[in-house]
């Protein structure tokens, strides 16, 4: 299978990537993992009764691809120096991170049931000192990129092969500190730094382009010296294929603008700004369970077709 062309860099060399065939079975398995992560997010919401669900659900496939295919991590040795790093700049998306870390075995899934409780190791924004697998204390928006840049710089000094992955929201791009970091990462040629922007196009007050637009994002990042691609953020095959080609240009940090749907997976909430932070009603849980069951049934049918 041809793995694509650098469509997003017109004028530059067009390279055909003959990569290993991304096994359709492997993708289906990852889709199943993504479903489990969505179920874990629902479990967190059941425990805490509320949470920032919209941006967690829109970034499930990105986080699934990273933790279950792309990144070198060892749940049994979370501080392994050769690990790849993941920085959740948009710290309020922590539900997806907790859900994925539990699924990957960094801690027992029963920890998810403590969400919202006094002294829970999984607060509403992540704390690296409280639970295994968290790299940074984020939550104050628009600043994870600076920390990630420092990690990338330190790893390069050590001649490490590890890479630093960052997940940002599109709303948080209005924070100026991001653009300080974007300039510095480019100036210092941090091509071991790979950023995902979960472009779900909504923030708490409304559509991002109406609240404070930083569009066109691709041109903006390119002008800051980054190598840019735009992909479908729910397409696991595309996420993995593209991230494996990073750095897209030697000597440049890479940004993948992932177009996504906020609250993806919950029929009543998808694309609705009011579910940025969800205070769940009992009847909504029932619909949510049915939605995820539907996804599971479809997935199982597909898996049977290919003999899984």
């Amino acid at each position: 299978m041809l793995c694509g062309i650098c469509q997003e860099t017109p004028g530059l060399r067009k390279v055909m990537f003959f990569e290993n065939l991304m096994d359709a079975k492997e993708i289906l398995k990852l889709e199943y993992t993504a479903l489990n992560i969505r179920r874990n997010i629902l479990r967190l919401i059941r425990a805490g009764e509320a949470g920032h669900v919209g941006g967690a659900l829109s970034s499930v496939e990105i986080v699934t691809a990273l933790y279950f295919n792309v990144m070198n991590v060892d749940p049994g040795n979370p501080k392994w120096p050769q690990r790849d790093r993941f920085v959740l700049s948009a710290g309020h998306k922590c539900l997806v991170l907790y859900a994925a870390l539990a699924e990957r075995g960094f801690f027992n899934v029963s920890v998810l049931d403590t969400y919202g409780a006094l002294d829970s190791p999984i607060p509403g924004h992540p704390n690296m000192h409280k639970i295994s697998g968290i790299e940074t204390n984020t939550g104050a928006l628009g600043h994870g990129l600076s920390i990630a840049g420092g990690m990338a710089l330190g790893l390069r000094m050590d001649k490490s092969q590890s890479r630093v992955f960052v997940l940002m929201g599109d709303g948080e791009l209005a924070e100026g500190s991001n653009w300080e970091a974007a300039s510095a990462a480019s100036m210092h040629k941090l091509d071991n730094l790979i950023v995902f922007i979960d472009r779900n196009k909504l923030q708490i007050s409304g559509p991002t382009i109406q609240v404070m637009s930083y569009e066109p994002l691709d041109e903006r990042w390119r002008s800051f010296g980054w190598s840019v691609r735009i992909i479908d953020g729910h397409d696991l095959e595309s996420i993995i294929r593209n991230v494996k080609q990073a750095p897209f240009e030697k000597g440049k940090p890479s940004v993948i603008i992932a177009d996504t749907l906020k609250s993806k997976g919950l029929s009543f909430a998808e694309g609705k700004v009011s579910y940025h932070y969800w205070k769940a009603k009992p009847e909504e849980f029932e619909i949510a369970e049915r939605d995820l069951d539907d996804i599971e049934n479809q997935l199982k049918a597909k898996m049977e077709e290919v003999g899984l």
Binding site: R85, N127, M128, H129, E135, T136, N137, T138, G139, A140, H143, L145, S146, I147, A148, G149, G150, M151, A152, L153, G154, L155, M157, D158, S160, G176, S177, E180, A181, S183, A184, M187, H188
Partner: protein, 313 residues
């Protein structure tokens, strides 16, 4: 040599270069600020360990935090308000909350950027950084202790904020003075009043103590170079044994050394206190020594304040 005038920034920079020779993990980050921080020679000596960022202090704090996660010891020196007030949230979250081994140095602190005005004065840095759990705050009062503070700060594992001034300052200590983070120095024992100074105006407190002794007042003169963690035993024994505490700092009275001492004494050994510093106002601009005079920080003024305080007690 005692009373010899030395440039605090140059002293600081030389100490960092000295430390870097023995510790390959030390890296220096600059917000267009290394040359002005006495670190002008660092990039040529250690080109792979000096990173320029331009004028972006908030970003630099984040990068420093990230570098520290890989075992580096970042030293970031720039004009004091721009590494404290400007990036306060980053200091709190990236360094304090993440407990990163980063050394932030505010230079030209206090009123030492005299005529440049209030944007460049740093008389609130101790107050705000003191609220961040786990951050060590060091405010050395002479060139000898600046050098020792740099080495102690590098040796200490954890986030630190150190402040230094700008004009040349007199040597107050012999080279072999015992310097330990978190331990104050009793420069001179006395029984009538504890005069406690810190940082750039320590030399003024030293001179004031001399004047007070000439007036027959027995002064226990204390240098609190580490404002956090505070040497509570030393403070409490001074309170118990003299019954009078006067603090001297080039900082707002709100939240500074005097406040920190009052927080301990008011609860554990209440004594009458006088805090000499800057009140609730933006400091004015002008020649440094005249500015200190405007806020009662010259030795004869400190002496008068102490005498008045003891009389009115």
């Amino acid at each position: 040599m005692i009373n010899e005038l030395k440039d605090p920034r140059k002293t600081f920079g030389e100490a960092v270069i000295e430390a870097a020779a023995n510790n390959p993990n030390i890296v220096v980050l600059s917000a267009d600020s290394s040359s002005g921080s006495g670190l002008g020679d660092f990039p040529a000596k250690y080109p792979d360990r000096h990173f320029e960022f331009g004028i972006m202090e908030q970003g630099v704090i984040g990068f420093a935090s990230g570098l520290a996660t890989t075992g580096k010891i970042p030293v970031f020196a720039a004009i004091a308000p721009f590494v404290t007030a400007r990036p306060f949230e980053m200091f709190r979250n990236d360094l304090g909350y993440m407990n990163q081994n980063v050394k932030v140095v505010g230079r030209c602190a206090g009123l030492t950027y005299d005529q440049l005005g209030s944007t460049h004065h740093s008389i609130d840095d101790v107050a705000i950084i003191r609220t961040i759990p786990g951050v060590t705050i060091i405010n050395p009062g002479d060139p000898v202790t600046i050098r020792k503070a740099v080495h102690a700060m590098i040796k200490h594992v954890g986030p630190c904020y150190m402040k230094i001034g700008s004009p040349k300052m007199p040597v107050l200590y012999e080279e072999d003075v015992d310097f330990n983070l978190g331990k104050g120095i009793v420069i001179k024992d006395g029984r009538d009043v504890a005069l406690i100074g810190t940082g750039t105006v320590l030399s003024k407190a030293v001179a004031a103590a001399r004047l007070l002794e000439e007036s027959g007042i027995s002064v226990r003169l204390i240098d609190i170079h580490t404002i956090k963690p505070l040497d509570r035993e030393l403070i409490l024994s001074a309170a118990r044994e003299t019954g009078n505490i006067v603090t001297v700092e080039e900082h707002f009275i709100a939240g500074g050394l005097g406040s920190a001492i009052a927080e301990i004494c008011s609860q554990e050994c209440p004594v009458k206190m006088k805090m000499i510093g800057i009140g609730d106002q933006y400091a004015s601009n002008g020649p440094y020594e005249e500015l200190l005079g405007k806020y009662g920080l010259q030795p004869d003024q400190i002496k008068e304040s102490v005498i008045k305080f003891l009389k009115n007690k």
